[in-house]
């Protein structure tokens, strides 16, 4: 199931991006669902439903969800102090003012658009999305967002082998998430969240909100932005919820149309 979801998506969306990790195949899910989808009857209609959105640059019209002014008003451009700056974040920074790093919102808007687009395509194809954050201030908000869009959340202590030792941690035959969205890539001791490394090990693509003190290297779709302000977090949650709901509604619509055209 997961292989079908992501192989097509990546071929189209990869494009001219210079990405550090190359995901050849997402074959680590240990469920029988992946085999089942490959053998499912691939009628022309189903193929069209799955492949047509991949040919469009902005199939879900996500650019109308936010503007750069919205990002500015949500204080997404505010980073941490200059001393906390991560060297790999320097390309994303506009500069610093009174010792506070300012994130370049033009780049942020571009990255956010790409990230939301990818999330929408994953949700369209019925992928499992996991929201992760270790910030206790926003844990409740993120869990509520996940519940409202029908996806999953993990804002608690991350046990060791959740992704890498899944059949033992859960049960044999569990299906791993197809996309992990990090609302904050650091854990409570300001180190990189273990989930980023584990997701990279298990070939699971990641979307992450990277602040000026975070390491963006292992994340597939980094979104440079503020992860400390409540306004910014509420905005991200709202945006992700809207994209996922839009994508799922679109899929339901297409299935209905297919059903109608098949009966006709």
């Amino acid at each position: 199931m997961a292989a079908g979801v992501l192989s097509g998506v990546r071929q189209v969306l990869r494009g001219p991006r210079l990405v550090s990790a190359v995901f050849s195949c997402h074959g680590q899910t240990l469920s029988s669902a992946s085999a089942a989808v490959k053998s499912a009857p691939d009628t022309a209609a189903t193929e069209k439903i799955l492949n047509f959105p991949l040919t469009q640059p902005d199939y879900f019209h996500l650019s109308e969800l936010f503007t750069m002014k919205d990002l500015f008003e949500a204080r997404v451009h505010l980073g941490h102090k200059k001393g906390c700056r991560h060297s790999l974040m320097e390309p994303y920074l506009f500069g610093s003012r009174l010792d506070i790093d300012i994130i370049d919102l033009e780049q942020t808007a571009e990255h956010l658009q790409r990230a939301l687009n990818f999330t929408a395509h994953v949700a369209y194809r019925g992928g499992i999305i996991l929201f992760v954050s270790r910030r206790r201030q926003f844990g409740q908000l993120i869990e509520t967002t996940a519940r409202e869009c029908g996806e999953y959340a993990h804002t608690r202590y991350w046990k060791g082998g959740l992704l890498t030792n899944a059949p033992v941690q859960y049960s044999p035959g569990v299906r791993l998430p197809d996309l992990i969205v990090f609302f904050s890539t650091l854990n409570n001791v300001f180190q990189q969240h273990v989930g980023i490394r584990d997701a990279a090990k298990m070939n699971i693509p990641t979307v992450g909100i990277v602040d000026s003190n975070c390491n963006p290297s292992l994340i597939a779709y980094p979104v440079p932005g503020n992860d400390d302000t409540p306004v910014a977090m509420e905005m991200y949650c709202r945006l992700f919820k809207m994209t996922i709901n839009r994508a799922k509604d679109k899929r339901r619509q297409m299935e209905l149309l297919k059903g109608i055209s098949a009966s006709v």
């Binding site: 199931m1 899910t29 469920s31 669902a33 019925g126 499992i128 996991l130 409740q140 869990e143 509520t144 996940a146 519940r147 029908g150 996806e151 999953y152 959340a153 993990h154 608690r156 046990k159 959740l162 941690q169 859960y170 049960s171 035959g173 569990v174 299906r175 998430p177």
Partner: protein, 385 residues
Amino acid sequence: MAASSCRGVRSILWKYGSCGKNFCVSRSKTVPQLPVRHICVSSALWKKNLAAAGPQKFTLEFINKQVEEFEIGKRHLANMMGEDPETFTQEDIDRSIAYLFPSGLFEKRARPVMKHPEEIFPKQTAVQWDAEGRPFHFLFYTGQQSYYSLLHDVYEKILAMERHQDNMRNKGLFTSETKQILLTGSRWLLKEEIEEYLVENISDHDYMRMIQLMEKLLSMPYCSLEEEFILKFRKQLEVQSSKHEIPALQYDPQGVTFSVADGRRKTAKASITLRDSGSGNITINGRNYLHYFPLLQDREQLMFPLHFVGMLGRFDVEGSVEGSGHSAQAGALRLAISRALLSFVSEGEVEKMRQAGLLTADPRIKERKKPGQEGARKKFTWKKR
């Protein structure tokens, strides 16, 4: 085939699968390939590693088939015994099996049994995801979904209460004297009870966090709104004195009230009949207590419960006792008298008697002798060398 001829030797052909004869034929036509490798494998390797498999898993269809077979078998058994299949209960099944398959085995669990498969096969957790592989619960990937979902709900209630508080303040209706939840006489559920409720294992730290969160909920002024939810996690403590079984008051043909009670101490068993409107006579095993217990200490034990409630001259005590020594018999009689007194005495007095220790059976018995020692505690003489 080559394999069938020699037992214990399994030849694994390198490239060309089954038969050796075929192999020779095809070999001449193609480019010279690698030769056949005979790998000798002992039968020890064919044994399954039973320890690694874990507890046996039963599929849902297997369990359903077993349930069907049980139901059919139950009806057959009813017909065999000549009873009505519709009203054949589990007790009837047990009785019939004991009749049809009489077993002299001492171990009850080794005897033939016919029970519903639910009771025989161990319960397994249901699969947590749907046909597509998507888990049902939104916190499935945390590993402890019920526990974290509980924390999420409690925090949600705290936030809702804060919003309610703000609303009241805005309207000017806020008061700190709100209805408080009665917490006396109850305790928080223990960690084991919470684990049973959540059907999940939690650590001590998790349990502590949960209790802290509940305490925070309780500390808010409007906590009475969530009273029902909070009381789900509190267990009422039983009042100790209500557990005592008070013997029933019985009436003589003459109209005299009396009560009967038993008592035990070490191996002494005593039975007492307390008759009302008496004059303080105590008869034990047909003899006067002065004759039966020449020692003052034993007679004091007999009098203590009556003296404590202040009804020394009111009752006639008639008792029988057997077993053990004089002191144990006195103790057994004392317990029996106290229990018999419960039916003549008020609730407050019962609690006082309980606190005085009159109603507690003394659990001390003779400790067994251990091998390698002289007695229960006494050791043999210690020799340095």
